[in-house]
């Protein structure tokens, strides 16, 4: 009996994280458990996981036998060491097989779309880890640099003798890249792969030569480098001592002179900040001061050219007026106001 339409045969009952929880999950994957730091990511890590991707995800089995996947570098003995078990009596590798060659020229990465980046090599706080040495509770600051983008290009070739073998591998590749990109979780870091091109290098044109198919898949890995050597762990500040010194000579009292030529009234207002108890300035007016108003001051002494005076007193143009006070509350501001008339 057929199933009715819209009958769901595959129900995903595994809960999947979404939104913030999903993003946090990605960060948790990147973090190396037990170290409070992310796992490093270098060329070797990306090469290793790409080989695993071809071996396990693109896994090609033909005629009941798994097709060997061989990563190649330039060392001849290394190549022989990887291929001898798949070779014939003449020590030649037997078709079919898959090779992976990484182009040695790793390019500047496009992981960040080629945008400008932070100059220099600053490190940024990744985590604050509480510490306790038995006496002092503190933090260690774990800092990491911004990863450096790098593009790695891999050439994956399938060598085989039959068109139907080509079809099987081609189908696997195209399905893997059906969403244009394929993500690998390399040391927990999500790294995208892009299928750059599919080429053909088949040896089929020469009649008097052995014929075989060679299908080339050029795959670009848009990765980044995160070097554990650049990680910084430093203790945070656990105790601080703040010292300050008070000196009469350091600060001056702000003052304001208001002289009205029409009414001939002159007023000098002086503000003594905490720690400032004396003041002097050169007068620009010829005036007679008749009244002194004070605030937060116990005693005060006014001098003209160094000579103590009491109200009323006359100050000529160019004379130096000095005011010395004793504050009632030393931690607060004090004010002196001189009122007089212009002469």
């Amino acid at each position: 009996m057929g199933l009715p339409k819209n009958y769901r045969k595959n129900i995903d009952i595994t809960p999947h994280k979404q939104g913030y929880a999903a993003r946090q999950q990605i960060l948790d994957n990147i973090a190396d458990p037990g170290t409070y730091l992310p796992k490093g990511l270098l060329h070797e890590d990306m090469d290793r996981d790409f080989i695993e991707y071809v071996k396990n995800t693109l896994n090609l089995t033909l005629g009941g036998e798994e097709v060997p996947v061989i990563f190649l570098s330039i060392q001849r003995w290394a190549e022989f060491a990887k291929t001898w078990q798949f070779s014939d009596v003449n020590k030649n590798i037997k078709i079919p097989f898959i090779t992976i060659v990484r182009k040695p020229d790793a390019q500047v990465g496009t992981n960040q779309a080629g945008l400008y980046n932070v100059p220099g090599k600053p490190t940024f706080t990744y985590m604050k880890v509480p510490t306790w040495d038995g006496n002092i509770k503190s933090f260690d600051i774990y800092k990491i640099p911004q990863p450096v983008s790098v593009d790695l290009t891999y050439e994956v070739r399938l060598f085989c003798n039959k068109m139907r073998d080509l079809n099987i591998f081609n189908k696997k590749i195209l399905k893997s890249f059906s969403a244009l990109q394929q993500y690998l979780r390399i040391n927990g870091h999500p790294i995208p792969l892009i299928l750059d091109s599919i080429g053909d290098e088949s040896v089929i044109t020469n009649l008097d030569e052995r014929k075989y198919y060679v299908q080339l898949y050029t795959i670009k890995m848009m990765g980044y480098l995160l070097d554990p050597e650049d990680f910084v762990v430093s203790p945070a500040i656990s105790r601080g001592i703040t010292l300050f010194e008070v000196s009469d000579n350091v600060h001056l009292a702000p003052f304001q002179v208001s002289a009205n030529e029409e009414t001939n009234i002159i007023t000098i207002e002086i503000s003594f900040d905490p720690g400032v108890n004396s003041f002097s300035f050169v007068s620009g007016h010829h005036a007679e001061y008749t009244e002194v108003s004070i605030e937060n001051i116990t005693t005060n002494t006014i001098t003209v050219n160094g000579v103590p005076v009491t109200t009323p007193f006359i100050v000529n143009h160019g004379d130096t007026i000095g005011v010395t006070i004793v504050k009632t509350d030393v931690g607060a501001n004090a004010y002196v106001r001189l009122d007089g008339v212009l002469l």
């Binding site: 190649l72 570098s73 330039i74 190549e79 030649n92 037997k94 090779t99 003798n161 139907r164 052995r210």
Partner: protein
């Protein structure tokens, strides 16, 4: 085109006849089979019996059916092996057998009732326990040119070219 009617060959009949031709061929075969005695094994593919897929007509290595193999005594030449690489960057090196080019008397093939077709397989015993297989890339079926005739009288041997084959394609018996 082969004709049921027999057409007498009377070329250069003032100096040469079918008896002379047969005698020359006998001399040659006596030398080739008696003195030189280099043999290859011919695997004639049974095209109707071999297992092929419906779309591409391809067979796997254990899917090719062939007639009873026959030994051919041939005038043998093997090219030097070539050091090659599967990848363009020089990796996946392999040593490719040289092609085989052999001459075989047409009368020898006729006696064995054997025909050599494009794509048939040839085995050559390199050592007592090592045999290498080739596939025919040129069966030399047209042998009426000057080089393959005696004085232009009639073609008497074929030159066959064979290229190495993968054991994934054919692995003998």
């Amino acid at each position: 085109m082969k004709n049921n009617r027999k057409i007498p060959i009377t070329r250069i009949n003032k100096f040469f006849s079918q008896e002379d031709f047969d005698l020359e061929v006998d001399f040659g075969r006596e030398w080739l089979e008696g003195d030189i005695n280099i043999k290859v094994i011919l695997f004639q593919v049974e095209q109707g019996e071999s297992l092929t897929d419906n779309i591409y007509g391809e067979s796997g290595r254990n899917e090719i059916r062939f007639k009873t193999p026959v030994e051919l005594t041939v005038n043998f030449k093997m090219d030097a092996p070539a050091n090659k690489a599967y990848n363009k960057d020089g990796s996946m090196r392999f040593l490719e057998h040289g092609n085989i080019v052999f001459g075989v008397y047409q009368s020898h093939l006729d006696e064995l009732k054997a025909g050599i077709n494009y794509g048939d397989y040839i085995g050559y015993a390199e050592t007592e326990d090592k045999i290498k297989y080739y596939t025919v890339s040129n069966n030399g079926i047209i042998h009426s040119d000057n080089a393959h005739t005696i004085g232009g009288f009639k073609g008497f041997y074929r030159t066959v070219t064979c290229v190495p084959t993968d054991i994934d394609e054919f692995n003998g018996i």
